[in-house]
């Protein structure tokens, strides 16, 4: 198992380099003047531009630039913004908030999704089943920002149950509704995945054996069916954490959450290349690590998959 993990981590390296290089090129190496908006309405003085280009290695070829950036990354240096703020500091402030939001979303989607999926998987074709299927359809179809707005306006402004925007501390309780919004799409997928998994496995031979052994229905479902059916759902949830963090930008915008979504959005508009690159690099790392974790988790859950 250890060797497998090691091998996979080595495989991650080219992907990591590829993805981060791609982003680097997109941010830094494309035509366009990075200093267009930096100095107010007037064009920047030449001395400033020369100094900046020196500091940010903009005169080197893109490969050298990237190489230097990578070296810096490996030492934990994410570079700095044009106004001299450490990008790592900006990220360190914003990242925990987004992480909290993503975790809340994950828990909500897991709990609601699994429950709905299991219940309807055991009883397909019923009233509840159709209700759940229709709701998941709606959740998949309606864009997140619409859900977000609707909930913000109704729960926050009309009925006053929650604060329309999230405070700077962003406690877990404040993040419940935004978390629900963020996870709404995935929740629909989890429900469907669980439902399909359960209804397919219901007819499998080992379930038939469990029944033939005279075990109580509750045990047949709870011990035999569930464990096998949960595997694809859990692997989806694992990968989803990274996706949630990457996709939080819309939700953060609506609820005014000071996470990396908002950070990167502002940075893109103000052309703060270092911040953008830094955030995306971080997200790529998270995504790759979660993928690896999920693969390992898969081996733990399913004894047939053991990597030796």
């Amino acid at each position: 198992m250890g060797r497998y993990v090691l091998r996979r981590m080595l495989q991650l390296v080219p992907v990591f380099i590829g993805a981060t290089f791609l982003i680097y090129v997109l941010v830094w190496a494309l035509p366009g003047d990075p200093f267009a908006a930096k100095c107010g309405d007037r064009p920047c003085p030449d001395a400033y531009i020369t100094a900046m280009r020196e500091r940010f290695n903009l005169d080197d070829s893109v490969f050298v630039q990237y190489g230097k950036y990578l070296l810096g990354l490996l030492q934990g240096d994410f570079g700095e913004t044009f106004s001299g703020i450490q990008v790592s500091e900006l990220i360190a402030n914003a990242y925990p908030v987004t992480l909290k939001l993503a975790l809340v979303a994950l828990v909500i989607e897991a709990v609601i999704g699994l429950t709905a999926g299991v219940v309807t998987g055991l009883r397909p074709g019923g009233y509840l089943d159709n209700l759940v299927l229709v709701s998941t359809l709606f959740l998949i179809a309606i864009p997140v920002f619409v859900t977000g707005f609707v909930l913000q306006v109704t729960l926050g402004l009309r009925w006053g149950i929650i604060d329309p925007t999230v405070s700077a501390q962003a406690d877990f309780s404040e993040l419940i509704v935004p978390g629900f919004v963020l996870g709404s799409l995935s929740m629909a997928y989890v429900t469907r995945l669980a439902r399909t998994s359960i209804s397919e496995n219901r007819r499998s031979d080992y379930v038939r054996t469990a029944v033939a052994k005279g075990l109580r229905p509750r045990r047949v479902v709870g011990v035999h069916l569930l464990r096998n059916s949960a595997i694809p759902v859990i692997t989806f949830l694992g990968v989803d954490l990274g996706a949630l963090m990457g996709g939080a930008i819309v939700t953060e915008g609506i609820f005014n959450i000071r996470g990396i979504g908002g950070l990167v959005y502002r940075s893109i508009l103000t052309k703060e290349g270092a911040t953008v690159t830094g955030v995306v690099v971080l997200l790529v790392i998270v995504y790759l690590l979660m993928n690896l974790l999920v693969d390992v988790l898969y081996a733990v859950l399913d004894p047939r998959i053991r990597y030796d």
Binding site: G18, V27, P143, V153, S186, D240, G247, I249, V250
Partner: protein, 316 residues
């Protein structure tokens, strides 16, 4: 928002079990192919009928907007700014005094075209890579999969924002910006189509009929085109249908963020983005395009669902 990237992992497309080839008894003694079986099944499903009706209506709306409204979607009279719905203007007027109903109707065409084009490109690129990876295996597969992984690692929204904000200024005109948005969405989503096609291709390659064809000396092209492709189409088809809806939604989200389509292009996303700041005072500015958007995406997702269920041999 239906995230185009998530569709491959757990979306309805991923739930399609690999169809086994084979004839079925349809009627007294006629064998039926999986495709015609699926068609017979589809015809009877309410999900399919409802979604197809909606889609046909939307397509008519898109092709012949003039049939539904005589107003010019870009003609604005500031005097009419933000007037609520009335008898002359069913959906009211927007900030610049333009007829919201007309804009919504004309927006149908753009939204659907964007969705259609993005899906086409995504499927073409992704499916080609996928079937090649699945057929050849080995280092070809390894390389193509690594490339796909690289794109997978980039979150859709962030990647789109970066690309679009960089190139936005350089392209002008309606066609330019539309093409840019379409290409960006495709570039970030093709790995999903590739993965789906790849696993279908790998499963198909191991089937005896493919082995037989190769054993008989069929060229790779023939094996892929004639034998593997027909059997790999089902999951990709399901994905494509749902992805269509997803891309329409994605375009709306990007426009909502301000980096997607923009004037003079009229799409629901553009309308929603313009309505953002006025939600509390003129909610109808957001509500109508959002409703059309939701219904459209819903129709395609429903269609995809129906298609998947029809293609599922286990559902017999």
């Amino acid at each position: 928002m239906t995230d185009p990237q998530a569709l491959g992992v757990a979306g309805p497309a991923a739930e399609v079990s690999h169809p086994t080839e084979g004839a079925r008894r349809g009627g007294p003694d006629r064998p039926r192919s999986l495709a015609s079986d699926a068609w017979h099944d589809l015809r009877r499903r309410p999900l399919f009928l409802v979604s197809m009706t909606l889609i046909v209506v939307l397509l008519v709306l898109a092709a012949f907007p003039g049939l539904f409204t005589s107003a010019d979607p870009n003609a604005g009279l500031l005097a009419r700014s933000r007037q609520p719905p009335s008898a002359q203007a069913w959906f009211g007027y927007d900030l610049l005094g333009r007829d919201v109903y007309a804009r919504t109707v004309y927006g149908t065409r753009v939204s659907i075209i964007v969705g259609l084009l993005a899906t086409t490109f995504t499927v073409l690129i992704g499916a080609t890579m996928g079937i090649l990876a699945g057929f050849y295996g080995g280092w070809v597969d390894g390389m193509l999969s690594r490339v796909a992984d690289v794109f997978f690692g980039l979150p859709f929204v962030l990647g789109a924002i970066v690309v679009l904000s960089t190139f936005r200024e350089s392209v002008g005109g309606a066609a330019g910006i539309t093409t840019l948005v379409v290409l960006t969405m495709s570039a970030l989503s093709w790995p999903v189509a590739m993965r789906i096609m790849r696993s279908a291709a790998i499963a198909a390659r191991q089937q005896d009929y493919v082995r037989a064809a190769r054993g008989l000396g069929a060229s790779p092209f023939r094996v892929i085109w004639r034998h593997m492709l027909p059997n790999c189409l089902a999951p990709v088809l399901v994905y494509a249908t749902i992805a269509l809806g997803a891309f329409i939604g994605a375009e709306a989200t990007l426009s909502f963020l301000g980096i997607g389509l923009r004037d003079p292009v009229v799409s629901w996303g553009v309308m929603i983005s313009e309505a953002r700041d006025y939600i509390r005072v003129s909610p109808y500015l957001l509500a109508f395009p959002a409703a059309f958007l939701a219904v459209t995406v819903l129709a395609f997702v429903m269609l995809g669902d129906a298609v998947r269920e029809a293609f599922d041999p286990k559902g017999r």
